[in-house]
């Protein structure tokens, strides 16, 4: 789930020594690593392999249900009706709203927590800093199933003790997504804040700015790009999750992923509505893909850029 973020950790080592490089200028012949024919065939094969299943999904999303079920797909029968009928076949609109609320709120909280922690972690030396950083990396390796069981046990215990309903509310699922969002965004922001020179703040401090004023006026504006990146990643954790949502949401809070997953299981039963299922799949992935592609340079560079300079 959080692998994209871990990519930041992995790529951190080298990047940035030379961030411009072949990104802006065409590579010279000296940089060629494979014969041209091999480069072209690798790129060709991988592009086809990457695109075909996606095209398959898109074509199916425009194919009537019974044709998908029978496997008789023809381009002559394409119709847009799946995209209009799917909304009544499953509570997709509600799922979309729930996902936006849940993923948005947990991402916002995670980024706020992360920014607060990243600042002292990159600016001060103090006892406990190193263990804090180690824990920050360590918790990212804890698998989701190890967290879902105790969180369920604790939440149902709280429910019984206080005799209130907690599992199924927005708060339950928002808090559980923060288990990934907080370490993730703290980590990304630590990597980024390290690249902002301290001199800027120190100049402001000399000029009579308070610590907090310097943070607000100098550091925060420079950090906006990283905040956006951290928000997007934390948001996508919520958008993509199935494990936690299948346990901690009910029909009034279930996310898009859960609506689509249940739709798949129900529609397998008697009359398969796989055409509508695929249009729901397109709707579930389109925003994510567009988000990534729009931020592509930003994300890949932003991810790998972070670290290094301060070392």
């Amino acid at each position: 789930m959080s692998v994209t973020a871990s990519a930041a950790a992995g790529a951190r080592r080298g990047a940035g020594r030379r961030r411009t490089g072949s990104r802006t200028t065409p590579g010279s012949a000296a940089e060629q690593l494979m014969p041209r024919w091999l480069t072209r065939s690798v790129a060709g094969v991988l592009v086809v392999v990457s695109v075909v299943p996606v095209l398959y999904m898109i074509v199916l999303s425009f194919t009537p249900n019974q044709n998908v079920a029978l496997g008789t797909i023809s381009l002559a029968q394409l119709t847009i009706s799946n995209y209009t009928s799917m909304w009544s076949a499953a509570p997709l609109a509600a799922g979309l709203v729930h996902t936006l609320v849940i993923a948005g709120a947990s991402a916002l909280l995670s980024v706020s927590f992360g920014l607060l922690a990243a600042y002292p972690l990159t600016r001060f030396k103090f006892r406990g800093r190193a263990p804090f950083m180690t824990v920050l990396i360590g918790v990212q390796t804890v698998p989701g199933t190890t967290l879902v069981l105790p969180l369920f046990a604790v939440l149902s215990w709280i429910q019984t003790t206080l005799s209130t309903q907690f599992i199924g509310t927005y708060w339950a699922i928002i808090v559980t997504y923060m288990t990934f969002g907080v370490p993730l965004s703290t980590w990304l922001l630590v990597a980024y804040l390290r690249t902002i020179p301290r001199d800027l703040e120190e100049a402001a401090l000399v000029d009579g700015c308070t610590r907090f004023g310097a943070l607000r006026r100098i550091v925060l504006p420079l950090t906006v790009p990283a905040l956006v990146v951290a928000f997007v990643f934390a948001f996508l954790v919520g958008w993509n999750d199935v494990l936690f949502a299948s346990v901690f949401t009910n029909s009034s809070t279930q996310t898009l992923a859960i609506v689509v997953q249940r739709f798949a299981n129900n529609s397998a039963a008697s009359l398969p509505v796989y055409g509508e299922l695929m249009s729901a799949a397109v709707v579930s992935s389109a925003p994510v893909v567009f988000l990534y592609l729009a931020f592509q340079r930003y994300l890949v560079n932003g991810l790998s850029a972070g670290s290094l300079t301060g070392v």
Partner: protein, 339 residues
């Protein structure tokens, strides 16, 4: 954990106050050592706002570290539907859950040993296959050419599509007889149209292929970032010395890429090991025994048969398996980051 909570303590900064007191006779104590304890704390926090660590510190403690400890506790208790709500008072049964998990098959007929096997093969095989693909992909777009931007964007698509969507498409693509995999294999006379990818032993391979399709760009991203970090001058120097393409690969690229790749392979294995969503969404529920990876096994023990003790025991076993790779990962990250 304990070390984390005492981070914001005021004594963190500057020399200890008593020294300041003794020196006070000759020259005035430094500003940060004057005033009452509270005043000093406030002043310290104004200059070094370590309190800002509190939200993250508390959140990580309460929603990650404490739950992990609770999992260990749960794995030693006799839990079922009725005792779960008051799990604090459930009977302690030692390692009985672990014994049961290892010896008795769960409601889907899979033992813990079998699940460990499946998870190991699944995660290691995926990493072994995706690594060369990712490296080749990075090599193919490292040097800019017309359209390389588009190719780079397309390379990302399998990775950025949500796992549950990939799983649904795979479910239809591998559908018996009607999915495009069976149709193509049938048309090419490679296999029977009734291959039954989604049930029985073939299900594992359907899941394996899907995971490889969806995750190779992870290694690609890391390898590309590593390649871009190699200074251009190295290549130029090498080509001035008349190095061949093979020599450039061996002496410049591979040494620089080695560290990133090792870390990437480790991370990728950790990630595949924890993949719950693919098996959960790709197959009907419950999934066939051949795809019963550890997270699925724990999940169905907990939320189908409500055997929370055994499920927690499985989660603990998972953590124990992951301790070594996690430790290596943490160390590598700490070192590369310079403390």
């Amino acid at each position: 954990m304990a070390m984390k909570t005492d981070v914001p303590a005021p004594s963190d900064s500057g020399p200890a106050p008593r020294n300041g007191g003794r020196r006070g006779g000759k020259r005035p104590a430094p500003a940060h050592e004057r005033g009452s304890l509270l005043e000093r704390f406030v002043r310290n926090q104004r200059n070094r706002p370590l309190w800002m660590l509190l939200p993250t510190g508390i959140a990580i403690t309460v929603i990650v570290i404490v739950p992990v400890i609770i999992t260990v506790v749960l794995s030693l208790l006799n839990l079922n539907v009725s005792t779960l709500r008051e799990w604090l008072g459930a009977p302690f049964i030692g390692f009985k859950n672990f014994v049961n998990a290892f010896t008795q098959p769960n409601i889907l007929g899979v033992t813990l040993v079998r699940s460990i096997e499946i998870s190991f093969v699944f995660s290691i095989l995926t990493t072994l296959v995706t690594t060369p693909i990712g490296i080749l992909a990075a090599f193919s777009v490292h040097r800019r050419f017309r359209g390389s931007g588009v190719v780079r964007a397309i390379y990302l698509i399998p990775y950025v599509i949500p796992t549950f969507v990939t799983a649904l498409v795979a479910r239809i693509a591998f559908a018996n007889g009607t999915g495009f995999v069976d149709q193509i294999l049938g048309d090419l006379h490679i296999a029977n149209r009734n291959f039954y990818w989604l049930i029985g032993p073939h299900a594992f391979w359907a899941m394996q292929i899907t995971e490889i399709w969806a995750t190779w760009p992870f290694i690609y991203l890391l390898a590309l970032a590593g390649l871009q970090a190699i200074p251009k001058e190295h290549y130029e120097a090498a080509s001035l010395d008349g190095a061949t393409m093979g020599q450039r690969l061996r002496h410049i690229v591979l040494p620089e890429l080695g560290g990133v790749l090792k870390l990437g392979m480790l991370l990728s294995t950790l990630f595949h090991f924890g993949n719950f969503t693919l098996a959960f969404v790709m197959f009907s529920s419950p999934p066939p025994p051949s795809v019963e990876v550890l997270p699925i096994n724990a999940y169905f023990n907990a939320f189908s048969s409500f055997d929370f003790g055994i499920a927690s025991a499985i989660a603990v076993v998972t953590m124990v398996i992951l301790i070594v790779p996690a430790y290596i990962y943490i160390r590598a990250t700490r070192i590369s980051e310079g403390g």
